[in-house]
């Protein structure tokens, strides 16, 4: 028997796969997981309470005196809790931390001295993020759905659930990729990410003009099968006058482009940038 020669360098995808295997456990059992469990667990708790209240014969949700049916309540939760809050927040917190945390913890040197390409580190970590968040968010949506929607209404609303799961997965992928790039390229990526999600996206979506094209939400919203919950007069009017939703094909195309472009940019930045660790 002859001993195998030591492997000096692995292919990009093998390297990414190894980083993925190492990162998934780190990501799942980090302190951030408590935060993720809290924000993903809250809709489940709300749905559970709604179910208990409903089984007692009381309408769980009334808006201005109108009883809201179960499927509409579920739709509102998808819009308000998942799409507008949980998905962007997870994208910002996890996406920006993929590289930035390694820099802050001064552990990036250990990753970069391994026999894998630097870009593979980003891709591997991104894949770990995607699996980790997807396998936390989507089961949560599934539990909320089965808690809220009566059994008899499942056949009529099931296709919408499948689309919801797809849209949320796509949202996690898009926000994660964008903020992986932001985390790799900029200092203080978390603040920039929060400003983007809760400032830029909210404002530009309500304004006339082309600025909304530079958001993720603009392309995600037309894919949601549920009607957008009605807000106050101003938002209704703005929505009615200035809302020009892109087609489904355009939305899917632009989101795919955003994911690929962000990842390619993140890989290029990480491969070219010189990270100087503060002593």
């Amino acid at each position: 028997m002859t001993a195998k020669p030591p492997v000096r360098s692995t292919s990009f995808f093998t390297g990414a796969w190894r980083v993925f295997g190492m990162s998934i456990g780190e990501m799942l059992w980090s302190r951030r997981t408590i935060f993720m469990a809290l924000i993903v667990g809250s809709p489940v708790l709300v749905a559970l309470v709604a179910r208990i209240v409903q089984s007692a014969g009381i309408a769980p949700l009334r808006v201005n005196g109108v009883q809201v049916d179960a499927v509409s309540m579920f739709g509102a939760m998808i819009w308000i809790l998942f799409l507008s809050f949980i998905v962007p927040v997870l994208g910002v917190f996890y996406g920006t931390s993929l590289i930035a945390d390694e820099v802050d913890d001064k552990t990036i040197t250990y990753l970069f001295t391994r026999p894998v390409r630097r870009g593979a580190v980003v891709v591997g970590k991104y894949m770990a993020y995607l699996l980790c968040t997807t396998l936390v968010v989507l089961p949560s949506v599934m539990i909320v759905y089965f808690l809220m929607v009566p059994f008899g209404q499942i056949p009529a609303s099931f296709i919408s659930l499948v689309i919801d799961l797809g849209v949320l997965g796509l949202g996690l992928a898009a926000y994660g990729a964008l903020f992986a790039f932001v985390g790799a390229a900029l200092r203080r990526p978390l603040i920039i990410g929060l400003v983007f999600v809760f400032g830029w996206e909210l404002v530009t979506l309500l304004l006339p003009g082309y600025l909304k094209h530079f958001t993720i939400a603009y392309y995600l919203q037309p894919l949601v099968p549920h009607a957008m919950p009605t807000g106050d007069t101003v938002s209704l009017l703005q929505g009615a006058l200035f809302r020009e939703p892109p087609s489904v094909a355009m939305s899917l195309g632009c989101l795919a482009l955003a994911i690929v472009a962000s990842l390619v940019l993140a890989v290029r930045v990480v491969e070219q940038r010189e990270y100087i660790l503060e002593q």
């Binding site: 295997g21 456990g25 005196g65 509409s72 396998l135 499942i154 009529a156 009607a227 009605t230």
Partner: protein, 338 residues
């Protein structure tokens, strides 16, 4: 990957697969909603309604008549009960207590060549002899149709038959005959999957209606309006009447894109309505209660008329109904009277 991580990934994937599998089976089987054990299947009288009906409606007359809203409306409208009293005198039917509920249906309403009255099935307590006598007095004739005594008034293009004890069918002669045929073994509306799917969703209301949209409008919408409306296939509505009125209007469009267009149209109208309602707090309250929702091809609009608003509308009506007195200009002293 640690054992702990593998366990987490397995459990999370399991929840996803289990949920998707359950939903998929439910959707594939055609829906558990088709089982009458889960969810209502509409009133039993739907067995008399032909399968090709374009409009089906139901009203729980006892609930509506006994509601506070109805009492208030009667109080606002002086003389509203005169017609009911006259009807009771002629037929012996007290609308408030003798009719439990009615089911109405229509076929071919969209076709202008059909001007026949719809079929109305009323469940309650009726004095059959008195009603038959009344129809005979007005020139009606009795004919036997497949063992049923059909009372036909050609003059009014109406027919009436007591299908079962406490169940009367009234409507155009052809429609009433068809209801007898339907019960005898013809295809009834319960076999119409599109209609029953909608009926099951709304049959908890005090009153509801399911209709094919083109049948409902009867092609009478102005061309300009019709061309601007997204393609709507089905319309349904339900209402709950108690101290106030709660309602839900739901339409099913041809595709998801049409539903999104309709949502935008409705949003626009809601915004304009809210802008216009600044001077009228009671209307603003109503518009604030209007909630738009939707799922796939479905667009729903829910609203609530609280008791206070019904009071306000009643007061408004009473104010308008009050005879206007034109002030008489004082005559100058000594002027000759005309």
């Amino acid at each position: 990957m640690t054992k702990q991580t593998r366990l987490f990934l397995g459990v999370a994937s399991g929840i996803l697969v289990l949920g998707l599998g359950t939903g998929l089976v439910a959707a594939y089987v055609g829906g558990f909603q088709n089982l009458t054990l889960i969810g209502g299947d509409g009133p039993a009288e739907l067995a008399f309604v032909p399968a090709d009906s374009h409009v089906v409606a139901y009203a729980d007359i006892r609930d509506v008549m006994g509601s506070e809203v109805r009492r208030k409306l009667s109080a606002f409208q002086q003389g509203a009960n005169d017609g009911a009293a006259d009807f009771k005198e002629k037929t012996g039917i007290d609308l408030e207590t003798d009719i439990d509920y009615v089911v109405a249906s229509a076929t071919g309403m969209g076709d202008p060549t059909h001007g026949e009255p719809p079929l109305v099935l009323a469940k309650g307590r009726f004095d059959e002899v008195r009603i038959e006598g009344l129809i005979r007095d007005q020139g009606g004739v009795v004919e036997d149709y497949k063992g049923s005594r059909l009372l036909v008034s050609d003059e009014k293009n109406l027919a009436l038959v007591f299908l079962e004890p406490g169940l009367v069918a009234i409507g155009g002669a052809a429609a009433v005959r068809k209801s007898i045929d339907t019960k005898a073994g013809g295809a009834n509306i319960k076999g119409n999957g599109d209609v029953m799917r909608l009926v099951r969703d709304i049959d908890d209301g005090d009153a509801w209606v399911v209709a094919r949209f083109d049948a409902l409008t009867g092609g009478k919408l102005p061309a300009e309006v019709a061309s601007q409306l997204p393609a709507i296939n089905w319309f349904s509505a339900k209402g709950f009447v108690n101290s106030g009125v709660e309602g839900q209007v739901r339409v099913e469009t041809r595709d998801d894109a049409a539903a999104k267009n309709l949502q935008d149209v409705v949003r626009g109208f809601m915004a304009l309505g809210r802008l216009q309602s600044g001077q009228h707090p009671e209307i603003a309250e109503f518009l604030n209660s209007v909630q738009l929702s939707g799922d796939g091809k479905t667009v729903s609009l829910s609203f609530s008329l609280p008791p206070e608003m019904i009071d306000a509308l009643g007061a408004l009506r009473a104010q308008r109904a009050r005879p206007r007195t034109t002030p008489v200009a004082p005559k100058p002293d000594g002027s000759p009277a005309l």
